[in-house]
């Protein structure tokens, strides 16, 4: 029975993630259109219904499946073919450790709303997201195209640089909460500072939040950090030679990663599934008022809270793309090594001192 | 000699000169319609009116002889007003259909309107104009538009004075005066197209050129007519590659569109015959050689130039070594330039033989535009057309080919029959115009005995189809060179268009052989001419520069004075 529940959870999460990624492609187009005073996609339709362009992701999926799976001459066929899988796989498995709710009580059974509560938690995420770079580099190299290779090289240096920063930015947070387990992190964020203010990560580690957001965007290879793709410079970078569904996998991976990053930011800095003052049996407001809610409804509210926060960050990341221009390559490197890394290190030191003084 | 002042410039001219000519000498062009230097004075257009000091009224400069101390003004405000008045009268019945008119662009009326006309018309509407006959066909060459005629009489005088056939005259009176022929009979003769040149407006037009192309799309290239030994100075009007309007699909480039005469007082004056004028049609005929051909088991087959040069040179060498240099012969051509005949001569000299035989074309039958009671080949008249229909007979003789290829080929054919001559290089086709069918066939069969027969010509022929190698030469419009006319005047032809297909200028082909036999390298016709002038006594001291546009006499006895027929550039074709 437990096994069955786990399988169901895995399926639900995986399908949600896939659908989110698909819908994000639509969000990206519509949002960019609105930001630029346009209408955006509205032509794909079934029986004359275009559903404000929502059918475009479907059309895209069909198109990608139907398209020729082209392998360039003299490309390394094996590596070329597995690269997209290597790029997509880590993104999906990362989501396993992210808690999207507290617990769901059905009768006697208590179901944790998280696929796997690993005690290494965030380290697992770092470990796997580091693997994603392999897909990109291998894809870039195996394509036998100089632009692809350049894209792969850029991705490698950029992702390795920002991987370091990403880890370091979060150290302060772990020092405060004293854990790397995500479920615990979220629970600690349910506490209140002085009985009023929720102890969310952004409030205790604001600098860490900005640095993490920046490095996460860089990990995602999106504007303003889209040098590996850099359409105006190297055509499409590492996935230049990909077509059909292999390209689709890179594409999907990118949008799934947006969801993962949003979920991570939510979990680490915005209290995950927490709603301020909401406890297992209802709201307990600091001014003494109370509102009793049945446990399953609480679970529902928590999942809803998590989803809304994630959606907000998805929206924000997409908006970021349509707001900022691309960094120059040297600027990216300088920012990574000369700004974010020192700031993150300083953040650790300051956090350490503050913790020493207060404890 | 008399001295007079025109617009402040002093000019000295012989007695009897007209003021208009004196002004021309002073560099002042007085507008005129009816005056033509080669025709008598009519004095009907009144446009050349000038003011002469001491006279109350203006005088027409074309018919006013100069007087000692005369002071003439050609451009005073009164004269300008007078001209505008005269212009308005000329234009009174002239239709303003310039866009349709083929003369437009080289129309004297048009040009002078922009220069001196520009009157403000008193006519309220064009319906007041007198309607006359529009498209009147005068024979097969000329079409007449009586509405456009300004009655300058030039054409009438041309018929009366130059061709003396008195075909054209004025009919009716006043506003209704028209030019025409009696009972609209067609014009005759071989000089009809000159009427088109003489006509200052679009009244007389060439049917051959009408509607073909607008005159501003063609550009002139100076050349010499190759239809007879007169060597008339002509202009080829061509649309060059890279010309002004490139992409009008129906008006292909690299094509000659017409031929116009070029003034040379001592050769052809202002005229050329119609046969020469239509000779451009031979350039763009269907049957032209455009590729080197080699005799193979299944007839002639197309080959590359490199093959041709290599094979011919090595065979020539082989035959000369095996049977001695005298077994090789070459045939000069009166249809080809001095340069080409010289190169052939020089090559043969290098091989150790000396060629002496040249051939002339004696055309049979007619030619486009030819009116005569005998064959074109036999025809001659006392105006321009010479009996010898070859442009360079004097030249080929001067280069050293002094025996003419006649019925027995000047001893060449018997020698071939006897097997003494094994290789023959023909510049042009010597048998093309042989009159007698029997001699033609026996000559052909003799030629078949040759081990190597090379024919270099622009056109296919019976002889070419029996040749070992056929090398595609070009027509006179596609190459540089010089012709020597019947007077012994060396004159230049110029390349107007690119050679057809893979064909090469004849001097280029020959210079390749000369190079292969270590006779020197030549990269231009001018270079060949320099060598020719050094080696051949008759041409000593001549250069292209010296030949200029007027030519040099052979042997070098006189150069022509520059004003004998010098024509100002850009004046159009109507002087």
């Amino acid at each position: 029975m437990d096994f069955l529940i786990e399988v169901i959870k895995v399926f639900v999460v995986a399908i949600m993630l896939l659908n989110m990624a698909a819908i994000l492609t639509w969000v990206e187009r519509k949002e960019s259109a609105l930001v630029q005073d346009r209408v955006g996609p509205n032509r794909a339709s079934i029986f004359g219904m275009s559903l404000i362009g929502l059918l475009h992701p479907v059309a895209d999926a069909i198109k990608m499946i139907m398209k020729e799976d082209f392998v360039p001459q003299h490309a390394n066929r094996f590596l070329f073919k597995i690269a997209p899988a290597l790029a997509v796989f880590p993104v999906f498995v990362v989501f396993a450790v992210i808690p999207f709710g507290d617990v769901l009580q059905i009768g006697e059974r208590v179901i944790k709303l998280q696929i796997a509560d690993l005690n290494v938690g965030i380290l697992y995420i770092f470990a796997l997201s580091s693997l994603a770079v392999y897909g990109v580099i291998i894809g870039g190299w195996a394509s036998n195209n100089k632009y692809s290779l350049l894209g792969g090289m850029r991705a490698a240096s950029q992702m390795i640089s920002y991987e370091v920063c990403m880890g370091v930015t979060l150290v302060g947070l772990f020092m405060i909460f004293g854990t790397v387990e995500l479920d615990d992190l979220v629970r600690y964020q349910g506490e209140l500072i002085g009985g009023w203010i929720p102890k969310w990560g952004i409030l205790v580690q604001p600098i860490s939040f900005f640095l993490f957001l920046a490095t996460a965007m860089a990990e995602n290879k999106r504007i303003p950090f889209d040098l590996p793709e850099g359409d105006s410079e190297i055509v499409a970078g590492y996935h230049l030679e990909y077509s059909g569904f292999r390209f689709g996998m890179f594409f999907l991976g990118e949008y799934a990663e947006i969801v993962v990053i949003s979920a991570l930011v939510t979990t680490l800095f915005f209290g995950g599934w927490q709603i301020p003052y909401l406890y297992g049996n209802g709201f307990h407001f600091p001014w003494g008022a109370e509102l009793a809610i049945v446990p399953w409804a609480v679970s529902l509210l928590q999942v809803g809270s998590f989803s809304i926060k994630v959606l907000f960050f998805c929206w924000l990341l997409v908006l970021t793309r349509w707001t900022f221009p691309r960094f120059r390559y040297d600027q990216v490197m300088r920012m990574g090594w000369k700004m974010i890394l020192p700031l993150a290190l300083a953040n650790i030191v300051v956090t350490g001192i503050v913790l020493l003084i207060f404890n | 000699m008399m001295t007079l002042t025109i617009d402040g410039k002093k000019v000295e001219v012989p007695e009897g000169t007209k003021v208009i000519e004196a002004a021309q000498k002073a560099g002042i062009t007085i507008p005129r319609f009816c005056y033509h230097p080669a025709l008598s004075i009519a004095g009907v257009c009144r446009l050349c009116t000038v003011a002469i000091e001491g006279q109350k009224k203006g005088a027409i400069s074309c018919n006013t002889p100069v007087a000692e101390g005369m002071v003439v003004y050609t451009n005073t405000p009164e004269i300008q007003e007078t001209r505008k008045g005269i212009y308005e009268l000329h234009m009174a019945n002239h239709p303003i259909d310039c866009p349709v008119c083929d003369q437009s662009g080289e129309c004297v009326l048009q040009n002078y309107y922009m220069q001196v006309g520009r009157y403000k018309s008193a006519f309220k509407n064009t319906a007041e104009k007198v309607q006359k006959r529009k498209v009147v066909h005068l024979g097969e060459k000329i079409v007449l538009d009586t509405e456009r005629c300004i009655l300058c009489d030039r054409c009438v005088r041309f018929c009366n004075e130059i061709t003396k056939n008195y075909e054209l005259n004025r009919f009716n009176r006043g506003n209704h005066t028209e030019i025409g022929t009696f009972e609209n009979r067609p014009l005759t003769g071989n000089y009809q197209e000159n009427l088109v040149d003489v006509c200052p407006v679009g009244a007389l037009l060439s049917k051959d050129f009408r509607f073909k192309v607008r005159v501003w799309w063609v550009e002139p290239v100076d050349s010499i007519c190759n239809q007879c030994s007169r060597g008339c100075n002509i202009q080829l009007h061509v649309r060059k590659k890279g010309g002004q309007v490139q992409n009008t699909v129906f008006h292909p480039t690299n094509e000659v569109y017409r031929i116009k005469p070029r003034l040379h007082a001592d050769v052809n004056s202002y005229w050329i015959c119609d046969v020469g004028r239509y000779s451009y049609k031979q350039i763009h005929t269907e049957s032209r050689l455009s590729q080197p051909l080699k005799k193979g088991p299944r007839g002639l087959q197309a080959k590359g130039w490199a093959d041709a040069f290599e094979d011919i040179a090595s065979r020539m060498r082989g035959i000369a070594q095996k049977s001695g240099p005298s077994s090789v012969a070459a045939l000069g051509s009166a249809q080809h330039t001095n340069e080409e005949n010289y190169l052939l001569w020089r090559w043969m000299k290098k091989m150790g033989t000396s060629p002496t035989v040249y051939h002339r074309a004696v055309p049979k039958g007619g030619r486009p535009g030819f009116h005569g009671d005998v064959d074109w080949g036999e025809f001659e008249d006392n105006l321009l057309i010479q009996k010898d229909k070859n442009p360079n007979t004097r030249g080929v003789q001067a280069v050293g080919f002094h025996k003419e290829f006649t019925l027995d080929g000047a001893g060449l054919l018997p020698a071939i029959e006897r097997g003494e001559i094994k290789a023959l290089y023909c510049l042009g086709d010597p048998l093309r115009d042989l009159q007698n069918k029997e001699t033609f066939l026996s000559a052909l069969s003799a030629m078949e005995r040759l081990e190597l027969l090379v024919v270099q010509d622009a056109y296919p022929s019976d002889l070419a189809s029996r040749a070992t190698w056929v090398l595609p030469g070009v027509t006179f419009a596609e190459k540089e060179g010089t012709f020597t006319n019947f007077q012994g005047r060396v004159q230049r032809i110029r390349k107007a268009i690119e050679p057809l297909g893979e064909a090469k200028a004849d001097w280029e082909i020959l210079s390749e052989f000369v190079k292969r036999f270590e006779g020197g390298e030549f990269s231009s016709a001018e270079g060949i001419f320099e060598a020719l002038a050094q080696e051949i006594p008759a041409f000593h001291g001549m250069t292209y520069e010296m030949i200029g546009s007027k030519g040099v006499m052979l042997p070098l006895t006189q150069t022509l004075s520059p004003q004998s027929g010098e024509r100002a550039k850009g004046e159009g074709f109507n002087p």
Binding site: D37 | F211, R214
Partner: protein
Amino acid sequence: MAIVVQRKERLSLAERLYIPILLGGLVVTTRRFFRNLFHPENLVTVQYPEERRPISPQLRFRHRLTKREDGTPRCVACMCCPTACPANCIHIEPQEHSDPTIEKRPARFEIDLSRCVFCGLCVEACPCDAIRMDTGKLGSPSYQLKNMVVDIDFLLKG
């Protein structure tokens, strides 16, 4: 003339921090986003094939050849338009007209629309008002270049 941008020697602290500036940018795009989300009537997009923008009558459209009262082309094949044409896209072959007062007419009149730059010089050059660019039709897309060469019948239909 090039525009010379005067750059400050050093960026201010706020600029060097990036974040305030970035947030400013985000505010702009966010404002746009929400304005357009709730007031889609502000969007400038025209749904092209269904919806067309009004076209100025002065615009130079595809050419047409005008006709005489009897329906024959007014064109007299005077070659003024191919002479004026900077794209060399007009090809006319003249022919004798049966009426001697008209004298000339086009046997063939072709315009290569794939080369035409729609400058209107042909219209200005025409002495007979035979060619006009007032059909109200724009372009004539085709899958093959040769189909973009239009002949006299097409041009007369307008």
